[in-house]
Symmetry: C2
């Protein structure tokens, strides 16, 4: 299973996607949005799992470079996310690159942490995706979805003990999605924190923890819904 570098652009900025081809004909193309740290081994492992399941994943690039530490990542992320138009343009650039690399295939998008927020932003913006799936993604937005805007089905896999997305955000998200008329499945896991899909999550930050059960069950939920929407 080989990774192909896919250069793409957002204006002057050069970004790099990483495409992983499955062994047979792919069932769909899947944009994989990483965490605030940009691609990491944990996200690459998820992309490989998609390729093993017969999909054509491309790991997307938020910044065009790798941040040297979490402070730099936050700084870059804030610059990107503070303006929904800038943020969404960056995200759509990845979808366009994937569409060019895999013309004619149905498309979905998944993401982790900031990437979870990213795929929800794409859904809010009416991206033509069969499914978006957010894993421990941020649920807030600066630009709530308009009625009828959301075309993608939505799966949110959420740690109920994630301090970055408390229950108030969950309720606000449901209400936003109701007004938009979106079709969502929301899975909440008791006691589960941010970053629950990442076995490399370091100890010491009380907001973060890997959770093997939530990781396993949320991944199964993704594959189940993908199997339903990709026909």
């Amino acid at each position: 299973m080989q990774t192909e570098r896919i250069p793409y652009r957002d204006g002057e900025l050069v970004l790099t996607g990483h495409l992983i081809r499955p062994s047979g004909a792919p069932r769909a193309a899947i944009a994989v949005f990483p965490t605030i740290k940009n691609p990491t081994p944990a996200v690459e492992a998820k992309a490989r799992a998609l390729a093993e399941a017969g999909y054509l994943p491309m790991i997307c690039d938020f910044y065009g470079a790798q941040p040297v530490d979490i402070d730099e990542a936050y700084s870059w992320a804030n610059t990107l996310t503070e303006d929904p138009a800038i943020y969404r343009t960056r995200l759509h650039a990845a979808l366009a690159a994937l569409l060019e690399a895999a013309p004619g295939l149905p498309m979905a998008a998944i993401g982790f942490c900031m990437g979870g927020q990213a795929v929800l932003e794409l859904a809010r913006d009416g991206a033509d995706l069969a499914l978006v799936a957010s894993f421990h993604g941020l649920l807030e937005t600066k630009a709530p979805a308009h009625p009828g805007a959301v075309k993608a089905r939505i799966l949110v896999c959420h740690g109920d003990a994630d301090p970055l997305a408390p229950r108030a955000h969950v309720l606000a998200f449901w209400e936003e999605m109701d007004r938009a008329g979106a079709d969502w499945h929301f899975h909440s896991y008791a006691g589960v924190k941010h970053s629950f899909t990442n076995p490399d999550t370091p100890a010491g930050n009380p907001a973060l923890a890997y959770d093997a059960s939530a990781d396993r069950q949320s991944w199964a939920a993704l594959l189940g819904l993908l199997g339903e929407v990709i026909t």
Copy 2:
């Protein structure tokens, strides 16, 4: 696949379980609690699906008889559920019958509508079950779980548009389960109503509707979690 009648008692009342043996050695025994109508073809189909997946299901009996219509069902159900002690005794009688029919096997319980409430009542009461799974079950209780009481893992598969379990009940349930320290997964499906697992749901009641996607995804979630907790 044959159904075996398992007579059991709650005091003087004679009840009848229906056991369905899988073709090989069963992985676990599963008490299947029906809707307020007591066993119906839809519930029997779910029990058969469990047997096909290698489990030993027993369809449980709420009343010792079949109600002639929904009014009688409500009347019988109310008599049972208005006192948690009476209700839980009836439910434990089913578990005891299943344990006797299948000694030494790990046990789980699932239920639909009133049966969903029933399995949550068993969890609140500390029943020794590896998993309870509620499908469009009622979330309220007259006897909230005490801290540390819940031993079973819990899966709730819930229609977000179910008027019998509105969002206020969802939040109250989460808070009750938090206080109890329970380990739950809660799946909520947008626009999905009560009775979503039952393809025989009649038209004409705006509270009820079959939903093929929620049915499929919630069943996959059950099998996924069973596979994890039954080792």
